[in-house]
């Protein structure tokens, strides 16, 4: 008993650790967090997957055994005890009870006992009557099921633990151990998986994942174990006809549905079914749940722009999500590889522009939250259209992840494209803003980038800048030279390149001079470049247009300043796509589920009968005393609560009245 309680406490603490420490992460995450020494130590106790670790399962096992023994030992005694009326209590011993009442009655014993029996009946008691030469003893009881409560509650612990153990990784590990299975750690096609990487089709307990692209068919699921996977063949195949996401007007997904066709391998029978969250498919003892969704190999058409040198030749890239994309020779880069990692067709973003909440007075505050609970919160949420994600790995093995939006969005009053970069999935994306041109594309920006890297064009721009801004003719060549130099440095390395040679005390001053100069030169460069490309001059006919043109140049300036740090030699923008979705199912066979449910029923029965069935025992000893009789009654209960005392008071009262 004490042992079981300490085991429970131990489980409590272990589960607590499990909630605080995120479970089932990649080992490298833990090494980063704890260092190699502690990692190795903790790894011995596999606290990364506490709930399936050997010692946790062992404790559960102990708990089952100890509780069962306790139950087996005590249950028969309890049942016997609950069934017995204890009618062989000696009448005199009733005086030892705390709750007792003794009185003399003018009624004859027979009449008194008759009345008391009537009272007992009306209050739901069952009783036994024992007569001996001394008198009559009535032994009554009710609520004996209370004891069953204990038995049920403890049996529930055993049953639930057994069911839980059946559904844990225990059986899987046993199979791996006895059946000589080896989890696969490298990438391979399912068809190529050797026998040692496949679990038997009759595997009684497993929990696996299955990814089915739109229009594809799959009859195998993947079980993850340790750091590898095992293939679990299923007795049926699933063909995904269509995966469907529905959205609320706010852009939040409202449902995920997979319209599937199930093909039975044994009979060849097929049927259709819609699997959605909260509506799993149950077939042949296996349950298939909608768990998430993924890309099933969408076809992408990308338009590539070089980011180095003065070339502005764009190139087309075609590829499939989940695979590497080949950059054509025209891209002029050979030492990087590009993996297309994702396509998101709908991106709902909060374009709130990050307005700070203004302080309001209390009344306004209150007024703002009265009325209906309709939200104004979503008005800044916009679907900003599709985006593409890819990873670029350079020859040194350095990899970065990129996300580019297909369409421009309005930010701070100008139309820009967001280009996100991050080192790994653990970081958030950092975004560069690329100004959109009149055709809502990045083309003009990219062309301007090429021009900025062309010394001839820079010279022309610097000349025009000097012409427009010099105070006199003597200053003009100096200014032109300064602007040309600044543009050259800026093109090479952004603002850093300009200030790198300047002592830190003067950097502010130099930048204060250089930035406006570069911006103005950039505006000139834009005009020159537009003329070269046969575009109409930038509209500066009215103040608004002037403002817009200036904003465009400013945004471009900031983007150029960031470009030298942009860790890819090319920029890929999404031109066209053909989405193929995939549905991710969780496939499970859990033999312990019904056992656990049975345990739950026991638990509910146990808990309710323990707390809400009150056990009561009453003994009444009636002895003849002259004409009348002498009565002695005692009442007891397992639990002496206030209720019991009150009930005894009531009984005493009734008892007194009955006997007069």
């Amino acid at each position: 008993m004490r042992f079981a309680v300490s085991l429970l406490m131990f489980i409590c603490v272990a589960s607590l650790i499990g909630t605080v420490l995120q479970q089932n992460q990649a080992p490298s995450t833990y090494v980063d967090r704890f260092g190699p020494f502690w990692f190795a130590l903790f790894d011995k106790f596999s606290i990364w997957h506490i709930y399936n670790s050997w010692w946790f399962l062992l404790i559960m096992g102990f708990l089952v055994v100890s509780t069962s023994i306790c139950l087996l030992r005590n249950a028969p005694k309890m049942i016997r005890d609950a069934r017995s009326f204890r009618e062989y209590v000696r009448g005199g011993s009733l005086r030892a009870f705390h709750h007792r009442v003794e009185l003399a009655s003018p009624l004859a014993p027979q009449e008194a006992s008759g009345r008391i029996e009537q009272w007992l009946r009306s209050h739901g008691y069952k009783w036994k009557r024992r007569e001996d030469d001394e008198g009559v003893l009535l032994a009554a009881k009710k609520g004996g099921a209370n004891r069953l409560g204990y038995i049920f509650a403890h049996a529930a612990i055993v049953v639930i633990c057994v069911g839980g153990l059946l559904d844990s990784e225990l059986l899987l590990r046993l199979q791996v151990w006895l059946g000589d299975k080896h989890p696969i750690t490298q990438n391979m096609m399912i068809a190529d998986v050797p026998e040692s990487g496949r679990l038997p089709a009759g595997n009684p307990s497993f929990r696996a994942n299955m990814l089915v692209p739109d229009g594809s068919i799959s009859g195998n699921a993947i079980v993850s174990l340790e750091n590898g996977v095992l293939v679990q063949p299923l007795p049926f195949s699933i063909k995904l006809n269509k995966f469907d996401v529905e959205y609320y007007s706010t852009g939040m997904p409202s449902s995920f549905k997979s319209d599937v066709e199930v093909i039975d391998h044994d009979t060849g029978k097929t049927f259709n079914k819609v699997i959605e969250v909260n509506e799993p498919l149950r077939y042949k003892g296996i349950t298939v749940y909608q768990s998430s969704f993924d890309d099933g190999g969408s076809k992408l058409e990308l338009l590539g722009y070089p980011l180095h040198g003065s070339g502005e030749q764009t190139f087309d890239v075609e590829g499939v999500v989940g695979q590497a994309a080949k950059l054509p020779a025209a891209a002029g880069v050979s030492n990087v590889s590009v993996d297309l990692t994702g396509l998101r067709v709908i991106n709902v973003e909060n374009l709130d522009n990050g307005k700070e909440p203004q302080p309001k007075d209390v009344l306004q505050q209150v007024a703002a939250v009265t009325g209906s609970a309709a939200g104004a919160k979503n008005e800044h949420l916009r679907n900003v259209g599709p985006s593409v994600q890819y990873r670029v790995v350079d020859s040194n093995g350095q990899s970065y992840e990129f996300t580019n939006y297909m369409l421009p969005m309005q930010l701070d009053g100008s139309e820009v494209f967001l280009a996100g970069v991050r080192r790994s999935a653990a970081e958030p994306y950092r975004y560069m803003r690329i100004p959109a041109d009149a055709n809502h594309s990045v083309a003009e920006f990219m062309s301007l980038r090429a021009a900025l890297n062309d010394p001839g064009m820079r010279a022309q721009a610097a000349e025009r800048f000097a012409q427009a801004n010099a105070n006199d003719a003597a200053q003009r060549p100096l200014l032109q030279k300064a602007a040309e130099g600044a543009l050259e440095s800026f093109a090479r390395g952004g603002f850093n390149e300009i200030v790198v040679k300047v002592p830190s005390a003067e950097r502010e001053k130099v930048l204060g001079f250089a930035v406006p100069m570069i911006q103005l030169s950039l505006a000139e460069l834009r005009d020159i470049n537009r003329a070269r490309n046969g575009l109409a001059p930038v509209d500066r006919s009215n103040p608004q247009a002037q403002q817009a043109a200036m904003r465009w140049t400013q945004t471009a300036l900031l983007a150029f300043a960031n470009l030298p740090d942009y860790p890819a030699p090319v920029f890929l923008s999404l031109k066209n796509f053909q989405q193929v979705q995939a549905s991710v199912f969780q496939v499970a066979r859990s033999p312990g589920k019904n056992i656990v449910y049975l345990g739950c029923i026991f638990l509910v029965l146990g808990v309710f009968s323990m707390f809400y069935i009150r056990d009561r025992r009453i003994w009444v000893w009636i002895r003849p005393q002259g004409q009348g009789s002498e009565l002695l009654a005692a009442m007891t209960s397992q639990r002496r609560t206030l209720d019991f005392s009150r009930e005894f008071e009531r009984f005493k009262d009734a008892f007194k009245r009955l006997s007069t």
Binding site: T19, Y51, D167, T250, T370, S372, K593, V596, C600, M610
Partner: protein, 450 residues
């Protein structure tokens, strides 16, 4: 000697088990039956007119609700008045929204223009009234230690708050549907809504025990935890706009939510109630003590618990946080300073112990059911009845905590200050499971993120 004499109240005592003038819970009389019929007619109307919008289980839950509410109303008749009043007010609000075009129609923007909606019956206004009334009721209960009228006012205001809160939730349910037919759902889906539910359930259980044990001295204690919840609720709606109705994420779109969440909150509510009764027990226990050392643990525990919503509410030590913590310390300190007079007004230790036990027993039973319902739901939604998600694990820890408490009490006869400290400390565990998990641990239950 006939049965009639047995049924006359044999035993006169302010504690009446039914909570009203009945000496014993008798057979349902005609008013109980009438109430049942009203509910049944309402459910029948809903089934015949809107049956096509409900699935099989939702119909079952509706019918179950009729039976359950009738049963609860028979157990404790004041619930009937509450349900009728709130129901009528909600219908009135729905009628106001409909602008006379039939109850099925409605225009959510009328909340801005119609007087009764704007100031009284729209969900937010009603819930704000609830908050205000709870705060006032707490003050009245404390003043009630010196004035009987104030204590009576406390009860009155608490009833008012519960009425306003229930009405607010009902109207909120309707407002969701007015926002869009696919948006409406039962208002128990996020942290804001369940906080309202929590306040209501805790207050209702308190009112029940108040009536049953004929004491108003506990009101100040129990309503303290409700007021904490209310303060949190206000902070949450003022700074995070949490009151706005959001559509459900796909995993929550299930009839399971309608039973899992309320059952859980009966557990949380009664556990908090028992903790506050435990606090009162300790005050009573130490009522005449002069030694400060014995009060220190109580003071620390009390202050920490008072500040808890805010410990969870903000990630860094902010000024508000400190202010709130200081306020909590002052309140607990004041209660301790006046422990003598307070303890003389409190019911006997035996009664306090009994309330504590009862509240935990009710809470435990419901919490067990709720956890099992959660497991059944999880089996449908996530594919496993149990997967050691932080919320699940913490539910297990809470469950084990109270299982141990009950076990110690029933088997080992645990009583006295130890049981009270444990019940009070249980509030820490409970509120971590309730709030802290949402705050600090990520998992599948992250519907109510802060």
């Amino acid at each position: 000697m006939s049965d009639t004499t047995l049924n006359t109240p044999a035993w006169q005592d302010p504690m009446v088990s039914s909570g009203d003038s009945r000496g014993q819970r008798g057979k349902p009389d005609w008013t109980d039956i009438l109430f049942f019929l009203i509910l049944a007619v309402g459910a029948g109307y809903a089934l015949s007119n809107y049956g096509s919008y409900m699935d099989y289980y939702e119909k079952l839950i509706l019918c179950g609700a009729v039976v359950g509410f009738s049963w609860a109303a028979w157990l404790w008749r004041p619930l009937r008045a509450l349900m009728v009043a709130s129901g009528l007010s909600a219908l009135f609000a729905i009628w106001l929204y409909s602008n006379g075009h039939g109850l099925a129609q409605g225009d959510i923007t009328r909340a801005e223009s119609v007087f009764f909606l704007k100031y009284l019956f729209s969900s937010q206004s009603a819930i704000l009234w609830m908050c205000a009334l709870f705060a006032l009721a707490t003050i009245c209960y404390w003043v009630g230690f010196v004035s009987k009228t104030a204590a009576w006012m406390g009860t009155f205001l608490t009833w008012g708050a519960v009425y306003a809160g229930v009405t607010g939730l009902l109207v909120r349910w309707r407002e969701g549907h007015l926002l869009g037919p696919d948006i409406g759902h039962i208002p128990v889906s996020n942290l804001y809504e369940v906080f309202v539910l929590f306040s209501l359930i805790t207050a209702l259980f308190y009112l029940y025990y108040e009536r049953r044990y004929a004491t108003r001295a506990l009101g100040g204690f129990v309503l303290m935890v409700v007021t904490s919840a209310v303060v949190f609720l206000l902070w949450y709606s003022f700074t995070r706009d949490a009151y706005q109705i959001q559509p459900l994420v796909p995993a929550l779109k299930s009839w399971w939510m309608k039973i899992h969440v309320p059952a859980n909150f009966i557990g949380y509510g009664t556990f908090s109630l028992s903790a506050m009764v435990g606090f009162a027990y300790l005050i009573k226990e130490h009522g005449e003590t002069r030694s400060r050392a014995r009060l220190i643990p109580l003071f620390v525990l009390g202050a920490v618990l008072c500040a808890e919503p805010f410990i969870f509410g903000s990630r860094e030590v902010s000024l508000t946080w400190m202010l709130y913590f200081g306020l909590g310390a002052i309140i607990v300190g004041t209660i301790l300073a006046f422990r003598g007079p307070i303890s003389r007004k409190l019911p006997s230790l035996e009664v306090l112990d009994d309330i504590m036990y009862r509240a935990i027993a009710v809470g435990f039973a419901f919490f067990t059911v709720a956890t099992i319902l959660g497991a059944l739901w999880a089996a449908d939604a996530w594919g496993t009845y149990w997967q050691w998600d932080p919320k699940e694990t913490w539910a297990l820890i809470v469950w084990l905590n109270y299982a141990a408490w009950l076990h110690m009490r029933l088997m080992k006869g645990l009583r006295g200050p130890m049981a009270a400290y444990w019940a009070l400390g249980g509030l820490l565990v409970t509120s971590f499971a309730f709030l802290g998990v949402n705050m600090f641990l990520s998992g599948l239950h992250s519907y109510g993120e802060l």
